[in-house]
Amino acid sequence: MTTLPTSTEKKLGLVIDLDTCVGCHACVISCKGWNTENYGAPLSDQDPYGANPTGTFLNRVHSYEIQPKDAPAQLIHFPKSCLHCEDAPCVTVCPTGASYKRVEDGIVLVNESDCIGCGLCAWACPYGAREMDAEEKVMKKCTLCVDRIYNENLPEEDREPACVRTCPSNARHFGDFADPDSNVSVLSRERGGMDLMPEMGTKPVNKYLPPRPKDRDRSEDVDILAPFLEPVATETTGFLGWLDKALESMPGGKN
């Protein structure tokens, strides 16, 4: 049993915008690349060219279809990684203290040298955000790129998680939720940022911005729009009569 800090100085995390995520998986692979080469054991792949390729990923994109009653079906792309919960059950369940939440910034990490690969934390996580590396037999999870965000060997503008840096549609934002004026706090406030499965009581730090309403019923707009399609004439000849008048009224017309 490992204890959580009573509070953290910062609450670093992500805002993920489901309105703009196009499901391109750029974040998935950028994460895989950085975290294979950096923090702890590489993210290995089993049977990478065979019948059942399975590898360790710290971030995956799931896609869900929604079928509204009176509108076309929608496809929602849903990237998911560790949410760095304030009440992280994966930490408290850890028998060795390998899982911990950092006091400074709230990032949940695994100290791989203390990890015995028991997998309890993965069972405890309601989000399925932890993956056991089959090669190294240690638990892997999103580090929020703790080895990037403070890294003095990187230019300041690059001190953000790899997934945020690479996201082409700007659907991922990184910042401090403890600061009410931070970019992530403002975005979350303005766009109705949501907790994932709040009923689990985990108090996730990461927030999801819901998609804007789509395929709005426009039948009531017909009157508003009608003036824009008011016919100028019904026959070509009438149209050309209109044309004469329209051209005359334009700058440079025949007055």
């Binding site: 895989k32 690479t166 051209l247």
Partner: protein
């Protein structure tokens, strides 16, 4: 820090060195930072300074490391030792390989250069490979545009001097409404994603018109799940509504398009339907100042859209009047097109009204004075902030050219091209069809071709026909079957060569084109053609095949001689303004690749191999006067080749009289070093006063000449009325020397209309659409790109399977359940494949991901890989020829104007079936010449 918390190193060393080059995982060509550790590739990220991607990078780009270490990489030159298709090879030396190639090709060049067919697939060096082919003297050269998106490219060039992607982009900073037509996730992908993120961030509206709601359409605020092949009909209805309501930018149409040009309407004239011209050949308008005819480009001329010109009892009208006749035709009314398109008349009207509202009520004015080519000064730049984008989805139909033309016409009538908030061209575009070369095909044994192969035909005289009317080119490009086939027709090469129609060839030489598999229609048939033997001689019908690829693709197995290419991080390349550049609307740009790692195999960059092979064959342009090799390798060519005075492959850091300069200049031996020091690219901003109205804007024209895009200023106007099409029609009506064969006259009259039209996909008239009611499409996943790389170890964990996605209606009708399989039948083939349900789909459309299905033994995959057992290709259902016509003829399954492969015209029927052991047809395995991949990997190059 609490005592339990470990002491972390928060500033680990990231890499020893960053090498900046250009991605090659698709055709986006983003800038990448390759982080090196101990000489090995450790991590790849986007280059923040790069104009294309500004730091972001897609899944493919970030997975490049798995491309560079892929087990499927070819290791050395090989010659075939087993039968074709078996994959049995023997490794040979480069000297032996080049000797074999020279011994095969030299006699061909000496006697019949046309018997070499050289096609280069997904080549990014076409200005170089075409020069090689030109030097060889064969007319048979093209890249893959004919089976990709030539309709989009050619329709754009003919209509307005550029299309989307490499040619133009939405004005992301100003647009208020972005409309995306068709499958388009595969081209310009990162810039489009960035643009969508940007405009959604400020609340602008995104509209998707696509049978399939994935990717960009998944985030669209409004989705129109249109019936495939009917986009043109819906666009015509939008134009109809805008004409009917007079929501047109008349000033723009009069000044900047040929809507104001006068059409010869004398029915007795052999120039009927062409524009009336002055003695200098300039099209005429009526000048409002004088009421008389005047050249379109006369100083001070104010073109009139309304006034007609009467001469000798005949009234000749401006093009605009013909446009009104066409677009006001009730057949294009929304309620007339609703059933065919699957989109209700109300929704079409709403979309038209939204466009009208945004264009004219939410117009933009930028305080940027500019001067047009008639000398008229404008104090503002007025914008119509409706932008559009499209690629393959509307292009890959037999009505694609006219559909793309309709789309551009829609943009033009709104005044939304090259204006703020609309679509903006990327230098060196805009460039009208008349500024491009014409096609060339004059063959002289032992000598070079008479000019560049591909170009833009402007009339029957430009076709590549022998005096007897037979095709000069093996793919029959630029013939009456498809006169404006500007990108060639790579998809017809193998079947024509096999049939000996129009003639037999000796050697098929291909680069980066998986023509035995996912890049061909009728893949099974193509494999048979490649292996077919002449019964009398016992020789292969296509006698020799040389192929260059970096990976063990399906096509490798069918070649006789393999010239192994490098991966993209091991090579020199130039992304040149002479070719398909990477410019953005605000900047001209080009870029290089350079060997950030050296190959660890006996492989060579294909372009460097061509430099040596060209010298061995004594090709003009590839040898010095003393007969020695002119370019040591591709890097030498990139640096020293001169295309026109002062213009070479790269425009940055050229040598001028006073030192280094942009655009024009002499070769600079340090040029590649300058590119490397600058992050692998060069770019130069478009001057602010030249940023919009580029074709008409003298500030842009002057800058374009200075940069070397043109040698003299050449302003032009957009051409919603395309005269080259009318010239073809005139011939079909019996005018002129070069006449089409009688069986094609009606098709030419019907399809080559100088104004946009819509007609049903051609195959719909030749098959029973009741028997084959379902449309079938493919698209590429955003995280994969065909198979010009390998089957990437990381990406195949995301997209290792390609079920056939079935809409709810068809799912329920067939009582499908998860895990079921279906038999899918087209008029030309049958496949049996796994199905999956998808609701966000046009109710009559099924689809799958393209090129996930692999042949067993290819790509160093295990033979039981899901790509080979459950994966499949839709290609088996698509024939390269249309069904037999009434007269017994079979025409190419292509657009009758450009020859674009009509992949997306496919119609099928689908029925539930018992699951076979694996997807059908199951092609027997090819032997892997590179072995198999490892059983596990943990790729960490640092300590």
């Amino acid at each position: 820090m609490p005592k339990d918390q470990p002491d972390l190193d928060l500033s680990p060393k990231v890499s020893d060195e960053i090498r900046k080059t250009t991605c090659y995982m698709c055709a986006c060509r983003c800038g990448i930072n390759v982080h090196m550790k101990e000489g090995k590739v450790a991590y790849i990220e986007g280059n923040k300074d790069h104009p294309v991607n500004q730091g972001v990078l897609c899944a493919k780009g970030s997975a490049g490391i798995m491309q560079v270490n892929a087990p499927s990489r070819l290791k050395a030159p090989m010659k075939r030792v087993g039968p074709r298709g078996s994959g049995e090879f023997e490794e040979i030396s480069w000297e032996e390989a080049l000797t074999i190639a020279t011994d095969w090709l030299a006699p061909v060049r000496e006697k019949h250069p046309e018997k070499l067919a050289f096609f280069t697939g997904r080549d990014q060096s076409q200005s170089f490979t075409s020069l090689w082919a030109q030097g060889f003297g064969t007319p048979n050269y093209a890249a893959h545009g004919g089976f990709c998106s030539v309709n989009m490219a050619a329709a754009g060039i003919y209509t307005m001097g550029g299309a989307f992607w490499e040619f133009g982009q939405p004005d992301w900073d100003h647009t208020k409404m972005f409309v995306l037509f068709g499958v388009a996730e595969d081209h310009d992908s990162n810039p489009i994603k960035m643009g969508i993120g940007k405009i959604k961030g400020r609340g602008a509206r995104v509209v998707g018109v696509n049978p399939i709601r994935t990717g960009y359409n998944a985030v669209a605020d409004d989705w129109f799940g249109i019936t495939p092949g009917t986009d043109g009909l819906m666009i015509m209805a939008l134009i109809h509504e805008l004409f009917k309501a007079g929501k047109l930018d008349l000033d723009y149409l009069a000044r900047f398009t040929n809507a104001s040009c006068i059409v010869n309407e004398d029915p007795k004239s052999d120039e009927n339907g062409l524009l009336m011209r002055d003695d200098d050949g300039q099209p005429l308008v009526i000048d409002k100042n004088t009421g008389d005819l005047a050249p379109w480009n006369g100083i001070g001329v104010e073109p009139d859209l309304a006034t007609t010109y009467r001469k000798a009892g005949v009234t000749h009208r401006p093009v605009f009047h013909l446009m009104a006749d066409r677009f006001l035709d009730p057949q294009y009314a929304p309620d007339k097109v609703a059933e065919a398109t699957g989109i209700s008349a109300d929704r079409i009207k709403q979309l038209a009204a939204d466009m009208a509202h945004v264009a004219f009520e939410e117009a933009i004015e930028l305080d940027r004075p500019w001067t047009d080519f008639r000398g008229k000064k404008h104090d503002k730049m007025i914008g119509r902030p409706v932008s559009m984008h499209s690629m393959r989805g509307i292009s890959a139909h037999s009505n694609g050219f006219q559909t793309c033309r309709a789309l551009h016409t829609l943009q033009i009538i709104l005044g939304a091209v090259e204006t703020p908030g609309g679509m903006r061209f990327k230098p060196p575009y805009p460039k009208p069809a008349t500024a491009h070369p014409k096609p060339h095909g004059k063959v002289t044994p032992g000598a070079a071709l008479n000019g560049p192969h591909l170009g833009f035909a402007h009339g029957p005289d430009d076709l590549l026909l022998h005096d007897d009317g037979s095709a000069i080119r093996i793919d029959k490009a630029f013939t009456w079957e498809n006169p404006l086939s500007s990108h060639g027709m790579m998809h017809m090469v193998i079947s024509n060569a096999h049939a000996g129609d129009p003639y037999k060839i000796d050697t098929l030489f291909m680069y980066m084109a998986n023509m035995s598999w996912n890049s061909s229609m009728n893949s099974t048939g193509v494999m048979e053609m490649l292996t077919d033997k002449d019964e009398e001689t016992g020789e292969y019908v296509i006698p020799r095949i040389i192929y260059s690829d970096a990976y063990s693709s399906e096509m490798v197995a069918f070649a006789d001689l393999i010239l192994p290419d490098t991966t993209y991080l091991e090579r020199h390349d130039c992304i040149s303004l002479l070719d398909r550049p990477i410019c953005e609307a605000d900047a001209v740009a080009d870029a290089i690749r350079w060997p950030v790692v050296e190959p660890d195999r006996d492989v060579r960059g294909f372009q460097s191999v061509l430099c040596e092979l060209g010298a061995r064959l004594n090709l003009p342009g590839f040898v010095n006067e003393d007969g020695s090799q002119k370019y040591e390798d591709y890097a030498d060519y990139i640096t020293n080749h001169i295309r026109r005075p002062g213009v070479g492959p790269l425009a940055g850091w050229r040598m001028g009289e006073d030192g280094l300069q942009d655009g024009r200049g002499d070769p600079n031996e340090g040029q590649l070093d300058s590119y490397i020091a600058n992050g692998g690219f060069w770019h130069s901003e478009v001057p602010t006063e030249a940023s919009y109205y580029k074709p008409f804007n003298m500030a842009y024209q002057d800058w374009a000449v200075k940069m070397g895009f043109f040698d003299s200023v050449q302003p032009y106007i957009f051409t919603p009325y395309v005269e080259p099409l009318r010239r073809m029609q005139l011939a079909a009506e019996g005018h002129g020397r070069v006449q089409p064969p009688d069986h094609l006259r009606q098709q030419i009259k019907d399809t080559m209309d100088p104004l946009p039209i819509w007609y049903a996909p051609l195959s719909d008239n030749l098959i029973d659409t009741n028997e084959y009611p379902v449309h079938a499409l493919t698209q590429r996943p955003m995280a994969m790109y065909h198979s010009w790389g390998t089957q990437n170890a990381w990406l195949r964990q995301i997209h290792g399977l390609n079920p056939l996605y079935v809409p709810t209606k068809i799912w329920d009708e067939n009582k499908f359940k998860d895990g079921d399989w279906a038999k899918v039948t087209s008029p030309s083939g049958v496949i049996t494949v796994p199905v999956a349900h998808m609701a966000a789909l046009n109710e009559n459309t099924i689809w799958t991901w393209n090129a996930i299905g692999k042949r067993k033994g290819a790509w160093a995959l295990e033979e039981d890989a899901p790509e080979a057992t459950e994966g499949f290709l839709l290609n088996h259902l698509i024939h390269e020829l249309l069904p037999e016509q009434a007269d017994g003829m079979r025409w190419s399954n292509s657009d009758p104007i450009t020859g674009q492969a009509a992949w997306f015209d496919l119609r099928v029927k689908i029925e539930k079936t018992t699951a076979p052991a694996e997807s059908q047809p199951a092609t027997p395995a090819q032997k892997s010449p590179v072995g198999k991949g490892p059983k596990s990997q943990a790729w960490k190059v640092g300590k």
